[in-house]
């Protein structure tokens, strides 16, 4: 297959089965540095399982998963992978509800993660400035001292994106970022992600086709655990296989 060096994310022939059910079947995928890739696909296509594999939550039965062209992700655990520079936003917004917006961001902020370093951590002026900047970007400055539980669904989505930014990752995995957002928020989110993709690699999983169109990125369609079609959104949606999968049967 293609040259591995120089890629940000490289999946080749990845398979995983749960009790005989093949959730991912010989999946191969490449993401270049500073590139955005949108992944679409029907329910059960294996999108979330793919993210689980990349972030170390699930071990693949077979295949190669490389980060930055050299690091084998199948040997590492979630924390190690996160510290390599892979950030993940979950399908269901997962923020720490019993803590304030500020604390959510402070925990996410890229800093040494060791026990004692964390225990004796005191935020520097720089850290505070960075958190305030992110609050500004995700429009939560006015609610920074509120508990995350009190945010609306869309705000939680944004807080989670803010946490991703605070992590300062090289690769962002974003699972359904605009679910539960208003149209205007959706447009803003697309802008934000495009902006991020100028310097980092972003993989977005999304059902909302108008949002995917807004992203204007390369699109991969997954079905039954492997790649069905690749190309621009127009190319993919014109693909007869994809049409059959979505509309047919």
């Amino acid at each position: 297959m293609t040259d591995k060096t120089g890629t940000m994310l490289y999946l080749d022939g990845v398979s995983v089965a749960f009790d005989g059910f093949r959730a991912i079947n010989k999946l191969s995928l490449i993401v270049q540095p500073a590139e955005m890739l949108a992944i679409i696909g029907p329910n059960g296509a294996g999108k979330t399982t793919m993210m689980d594999i990349i972030t170390g939550k699930t071990r693949p039965d077979d295949g190669e998963v490389l980060f930055d062209g050299r690091t084998d992700l199948t040997k590492l655990d979630e924390a190690a992978i996160a510290n390599l520079g892979i950030g993940r936003k979950f399908q269901k917004p997962t923020v720490f509800e019993s803590q304030t917006v500020w604390n959510n961001l402070e925990m996410a902020l890229r800093k040494p993660r060791g026990i004692f370093r964390t225990l004796f951590y005191t935020p520097s002026a720089e850290d505070i400035a960075r958190i305030e900047e992110i609050l500004d970007i995700v429009r939560l400055s006015g609610r920074k001292d509120e508990l995350a539980a009190n945010l609306s669904h869309g705000q939680k989505q944004w807080l989670e994106i803010g946490m991703l930014l605070a992590q300062d990752p090289k690769l962002l995995l974003v699972d359904e970022p605009v679910a539960g957002m208003t149209d205007s928020e959706t447009v803003e989110t697309a802008k934000l992600l495009k902006n991020i993709a100028l310097t980092r690699s972003v993989v977005v999983v999304e059902h909302d086709m108008s949002f995917v169109r807004d992203l204007g990125s390369r699109v991969t369609c997954l079905a039954e655990g492997s790649v069905l079609a690749e190309g621009t959104l127009d190319q993919v949606s014109a693909n007869p296989l994809v049409i059959e999968r979505y509309l047919g049967r």
Binding site: F21, A23, T49
Partner: protein, 553 residues
């Protein structure tokens, strides 16, 4: 030196007397209701016993004959005491008595009724004398009353007693009764007794050789020790053969011991299975740990107690059916308590497994204290029905009926539960909820109802376990506490959502426990098991038979 000897003799004769009494009791138990025996009144019998004292030896032999003719089983004891030379007569009255030394005097008891007859100074009583010819007569008489008795149990007990004594003097009697015996089990015992006697005192090499073979192939648990004991007396040319037999027997013994351990393990495993299986279901389906599960077992045991008490007072004839009556009642009672707990407490705590654990612990304290208040803090006596008492030997294995029935019962409950889970609508719904609660709910399964039913079922099975455990354990308010941690271990080890996991877990832990016990002792063995499980859970955090996939999270 002299006093030592006397002391030994005294001890032996005391032991014999005890044995004789025990045997008489046995005979009495078995012989009751044998219609062919001539019924003789106690007064007549006492007269015949008193007739043992006066006159010549020949007169006494006649009196013995008259006693045997009575066919009364109590006579055996009297004759045995007479053969020992321990029967005395009060000179003044001519009354034949048993005596017991009491200070300076002798305490007298009636040989027939065991009634106390007061005490007399030593000089007032005299021994009823016996000579060798009378002894022979007595032995034959006793043999006729026992070895030739019409009752199978009496004969078997007599044969076993002769086997224990291995007295050469019994050889002739043994031969006679062997010729008449038709029951194969008794015949085997008699043949073995004969072989043991020959081995001990025989003179003919061939006879001894065949006797040794009989002993070696008898399958008796004592065969090796009998042969070892005989090694000193047998002719030299037989020693090598016998030694080979002993070695062979020792090897067999090791195998049988291992099998015996497996049996003990299976037996313990069944108990664990009964106690844990309900817990596994509720944990599997609802994800909650029911700390009051042990108390459900306890309630089942107390139900058995209550049923037996009622039967004792109102219909003693039904005692053998007490367990059959207690089973449905225990199931119903504990299932109802279970449903009440689920509806009253647990359903408010869904998704908060740790809180459920605490609340059910509180319920367990309340249930324990309730039972303590009603039935008292001490152990209550729960009896075994006749078909569950006693034991039997299966080749080299000693198996008690109660344990055997519990193994059978545990497997029956397991199979029944398997059928409920795989063949009924409730089972299907339970499995669906186990695998994916939200999906099941979305498909129209009424999960609250399934939860209540599951909890009721799990608790009901605990109640059944309680009925079974009442047969082998003390029934006290703390009964459940003794099983709860072991049950947890079974569930943790076997994994949830799969009954086979519980079965394998229970049996593995049961057998492992019993195999560790001889090496490490019971307590250390248990500690070792706990440590091993804590280590095991490192490898497989969700047990042997765990569900996999996204739904688990």
């Amino acid at each position: 030196m002299m006093s030592d000897l006397i002391g030994t003799i005294m001890e032996r004769s005391a032991a014999r007397r005890w044995l004789a009494a025990a045997m008489a009791l046995l005979v009495a138990v078995f012989a009751f209701g044998s219609p062919s025996l001539a019924q003789v009144s106690d007064a007549e019998l006492t007269q015949r016993i008193d007739a043992l004292a006066p006159g010549s030896y020949a007169d006494r032999a006649g009196a013995v004959g008259a006693l045997v003719a009575s066919g009364d089983p109590r006579v055996v004891g009297v004759l045995q005491v007479l053969a020992e030379g321990d029967l005395l007569v009060v000179e003044e009255t001519g009354k034949v008595v048993y005596v017991e030394r009491s200070g300076k005097d002798f305490a007298l008891t009636d040989p027939l009724t065991g009634e106390s007859l007061g005490s007399v100074p030593r000089g007032d009583v005299e021994k009823v004398r016996v000579n060798n010819s009378l002894r022979r007569t007595l032995r034959t008489a006793i043999g006729q009353l026992t070895l030739l008795s019409e009752d199978r149990g009496t004969r078997l007990a007599a044969a076993q007693s002769i086997l224990r004594d291995a007295d050469p003097a019994n050889l002739q009697l043994l031969d006679e009764s062997l010729a008449a015996e038709i029951d194969p089990a008794i015949k085997r015992t008699m043949e073995l007794a004969r072989a043991v006697i020959t081995l001990k005192s025989g003179s003919d090499v061939e006879q001894i050789r065949s006797a040794a073979e009989t002993v070696a192939h008898s399958g008796s648990r004592d065969a090796a020790s009998i042969l070892s004991a005989a090694m000193g007396t047998v002719p030299d040319e037989l020693r090598a053969d016998i030694q080979a037999s002993i070695d062979g027997l020792a090897r067999d013994r090791a195998v049988w011991d291992a099998l015996q351990n497996v049996w003990f393990g299976v037996s313990l495993g069944s108990v664990l299975l009964l106690a844990a299986i309900g817990l596994a279901i509720t944990f599997g389906v609802m994800g909650v740990i029911n700390m009051a599960h042990g108390e459900m077992v306890m309630l089942g045991a107390y139900t058995t107690f209550a049923v037996q008490e009622t039967i004792r007072q109102n219909a003693p004839g039904l005692f053998d059916y007490s367990l059959a009556i207690a089973l449905p009642l225990a199931f119903l009672l504990t299932a109802l308590v279970g449903v009440a707990i689920e509806r009253g407490v647990i359903r408010w705590l869904y998704g908060r497994a740790l809180e459920t654990l605490l609340a059910t612990w509180g319920l367990s304290l309340i249930l324990q204290q309730t039972v303590r208040s009603i039935f008292g803090p001490t152990n209550r006596q729960v009896g075994n029905p006749s078909w569950m008492s006693g034991s039997f030997e299966f080749y080299g294995l000693a198996i008690t009926w109660s344990r055997l029935w519990i193994v059978v019962f545990a497997l029956a409950v397991f199979v029944a539960l398997l059928l409920v889970l795989n063949r009924t609508a409730l089972g299907l719904q339970m499995r669906a909820v186990t695998q994916n609660r939200r999906m099941a709910s979305a498909m129209g399964i009424r999960t609250p109802l399934v939860d209540a039913m599951t909890f009721g079922l799990g608790s009901g099975i605990a109640g059944l376990a309680g009925v079974a455990l009442s047969q082998i354990d003390n029934v006290s308010p703390n009964l459940g506490q003794g099983y709860i941690i072991d049950s947890f271990m079974v569930v943790v080890f076997g994994g949830v959502g799969n009954l086979w996991g519980t079965l394998v877990g229970a049996m593995t832990l049961g057998i492992a426990n019993k195999f560790l016990e001889p090496y490490a002792g019971a307590v250390l063995g248990k500690i070792l098991i706990l440590v091993l499980i804590i280590l095991f859970i490192q490898r497989r955090p969700r047990g042997l038979f765990a569900l996999k996939g996204r739904a688990v999270e």
